[in-house]
Amino acid sequence: MSQALREFLMKKARLEKVFKWGVRWSLWPVHLVTSCCGVEVAHTSAPGFDAERWGVLPFHTMRQSNVIIVEGTITRKMARVLRQVYEQMPEPKYVLAMGACAVRGGLFWNSYHVVQVDTVVPVDVYISGCPPTPEAVIRAFIMLHNKIKGKPGPYVEPVKVDLAPYLPPPPKPPAKPAPQPQQQQQQQAQAAA
């Protein structure tokens, strides 16, 4: 009965749309502030930008929220905490990697103690910048809206770029010395003779 009722509600009565609509407008992020990006998230929720217009209500417990914003550098020790926080959140849950450090290590490139976030938890939206502006965070939430709707928006993902056209060319080997004018005169003299 319950399965049939569930199928009826989700398929026939189009309750899935209502469900997605509810999720879309109540994205409650939990902060994982490990760096300076937390300041920008505070701006995002402050009256100036007021991300609550898009349903983004900052919340303090991970068990009652469905979005995690990874704000900053994740070290190996913090990666355990991040995974634990992610496992505690109820479904559906989404992950936003905010800032250069969270996206690909940023300033702490090639470090012995920093991990890339997408090796720990599945990341839905990347926010580039160091730190990203509040507009960028709001844009990421609108991208997340589109993803929940099923129409993914423009992703900002790190892509491989060939830097060869923009870098200075490698130094050329020294050119052969031009024939000296004396030799030319001698050759001309020989030719004349």
Binding site: R104, H113, V161
Partner: protein, 177 residues
């Protein structure tokens, strides 16, 4: 090695603290200098670091501001840098005292001053973890403090590696990850 190593102590100069430090340290003062910021810097023998710390404490310096090491890999030496400062003494309020000691790189051991200065405890544990220097007398030697338990361990031998040493190889993530 072609590049010359930097001097262990900045060039000597006049400093208001110098007579008092000379009187307190006595023969354990090997050389001295004044940093560009105007702080007095002295070099002491490593086996007398506990006497030096006690003498510095009697002068009125009440905490260790910083304790770090410099890895002189070509000369096979570690240069330990202790920085002492004072909260309570009014005449030492704006003064910092740098105390430096050289220890050999292949057996880096020095006496702990954590019982004289409790604020040196965390600094010694961090220095032990990052450089592998063994502070004799500190009960936390050989344990992980800041680093992850699984990180910086040699896969073949299972021994810990020390990430701030010059011969530590950082992981290469490539140009674009």
């Amino acid at each position: 090695m072609s590049a010359r190593a930097p001097p262990k102590c900045p060039p000597p100069g006049d400093h208001a603290l110098l007579p008092r430090v000379k009187e307190a340290l006595g023969p354990s003062l090997l050389s001295r200098g004044v940093t560009p910021e105007g702080h007095l810097c002295v070099v002491v023998p490593p086996d007398k670091i506990r006497e030096v710390a006690q003498a510095v404490k009697n002068m009125g310096f009440d905490h260790v501001l910083s304790l770090s090491a410099v890895d002189y890999i070509a000369e096979k030496k570690f240069l330990l840098v202790y920085v002492f400062a004072s909260y309570l003494s009014p005449e030492l309020k704006n003064q910092l005292l740098h105390v430096r000691a050289e220890i050999p790189r292949d057996s880096p051991r020095i006496a702990s001053i954590a019982d004289i200065y409790p604020s040196a405890d965390y600094e010694e544990r961090e220095c032990h973890e990052m450089f592998g220097i063994w502070f004799e007398g500190n009960p936390h030697m050989g344990k992980r403090f800041l680093l992850d338990p699984d990180c910086c361990i040699d896969e073949k031998t299972g021994k810990p590696l020390y990430p701030l040493r010059k011969d530590f190889k950082v992981p290469d993530w490539g140009l674009m990850g």
